[in-house]
Symmetry: C2
């Protein structure tokens, strides 16, 4: 089976399966992005979370790679109030931690080139920890990830280690991060639309050229497509300690949210 047909089969299989997440559906703030990607033949999403505030209770002991046993005292994809957290904290028996986890999205891509396009969009939208994975059977995934988190220990052996005033202060910050996270998702959606539009235009241009010149190879078509998206990043050579190491094929996107 050729690569493209195999990808189509994977996509159909994946999208027909039940949503096995705790929530059982795509988060509201991620729906637009997920639907846009799944409407394109070169992508499908395999998991997503729009961003959430989490209160976990569990042991921090142990040193394995695996997550330690823990239970969820509270999860919300909306801004969160002090009273909700104070009520949830009553259930804490060991080490409760408040986390803000930003948008995360996993997208299977038909080709490495498709993953590169999506990776550029992710980085330019502020999701600097995004990266590509190439699997053993050639499956190519992009993980869209942010550096934009929060992880704050609140209880020790069930005892609250901070004041209610601190919880309020902390939630102001967590809620701000949630707002900023939403803006980034919006930016990602806009940049993605522009990038896909540009890809479509350059693909149809090169198909016309190909008809006129049947010797034009697939590789040529790619480089023609690329020429339409001038790069805005420079190669900075050796990175600074704080650099993110991403010298990518960033492209100029028009417009923003």
């Amino acid at each position: 089976m050729d690569r493209s047909a195999e990808f189509g089969r994977w996509k159909a299989q994946s999208l027909s399966k039940a949503d096995l997440s705790r929530k059982g559906s795509v988060d509201e703030d991620a729906v637009e992005v997920v639907e846009l990607l799944n409407s394109r033949e070169e992508f499908f999403t395999t998991s997503s979370c729009a961003g959430r505030i989490l209160l976990l209770d569990g042991s921090t002991e142990g040193s394995g790679v695996q997550k330690q046993h823990c239970c969820w005292l509270l999860v919300t994809h909306k801004p969160c109030a002090r009273d909700d957290v104070m009520a949830a904290l009553k259930g804490a028996t060991s080490e409760a931690v408040l986390k803000f986890e930003p948008f995360i999205l996993h997208v299977q891509c038909r080709t490495l080139q498709d993953a590169q396009t999506l990776h550029s969009v992710a980085i330019d939208s502020g999701f600097r920890n995004s990266g590509i994975t190439v699997g053993k059977r050639g499956k190519t995934m992009l993980a869209v990830r942010s550096t934009h988190g929060l992880e704050v220990p609140l209880t020790h052996k069930g005892k609250l280690m901070v004041t209610e005033e601190y919880i309020e202060f902390l939630l102001t910050i967590a809620n701000q991060k949630m707002e900023e996270n939403k803006r980034r998702i919006g930016r990602f959606y806009n940049y993605l639309q522009h990038a896909l539009k540009r890809e479509t235009i350059s693909n149809s241009h090169s198909k016309i050229k190909e008809r006129n010149n049947p010797l034009c190879t697939h590789k040529n078509r790619r480089s023609q497509g690329k020429a339409q998206g001038p790069s805005t990043t420079e190669d900075n050579g050796r990175e600074l300690e704080d650099g993110d190491g991403l010298e990518i094929s960033a492209a100029l996107f028009l417009g923003d949210d």
Copy 2:
């Protein structure tokens, strides 16, 4: 210039440049890994941080992709005591945040296949947020990243929002994370050694086979190499919400730290 020669030129250029990090040298706990990678013709490192506890002071306002202006009140790559943090906090004038930032490493790889090998090692060692970047001129980078952080707001407009007792509690956790981070670096080093040894053996095996059968292509050689590292991961189909989306070419590594 062929791909391999071009990579060699990049490597020589990169390694001859001055270290532009604040510290000006590779962190002690990362030296072994960095030296092992740089001793191999298929890799070179472009930046690294072994893991650190940071106290930053700065505004959390603004919503850009860029980091806001902030200053470093304290940085240490060693376990940290309460008095050091309390002293450093005296310099806080706005929003001070204590962070634990785990090991991070950027490695330029000669081929995508080399990046895949290194990616497997990273994931298997517990660095689950690792990912590949393919640049516009074909530069292939692996970023080794962990999920294993901590980010705790401590002051508001310069005023300390928590007790000294909480700072002590927090540093116990940060120091534990630093220890666990060190163990993961050790595991990464061991897994890397095994993976590189296996690559070397399978490459020399296939070179012998190639001499006997000159029609053996580069692609065949790769799949022969792969056959020597049996996979331990299964394709789990649609991921759970919490899954990391990495269906990679994980291989069985012998031994651990």
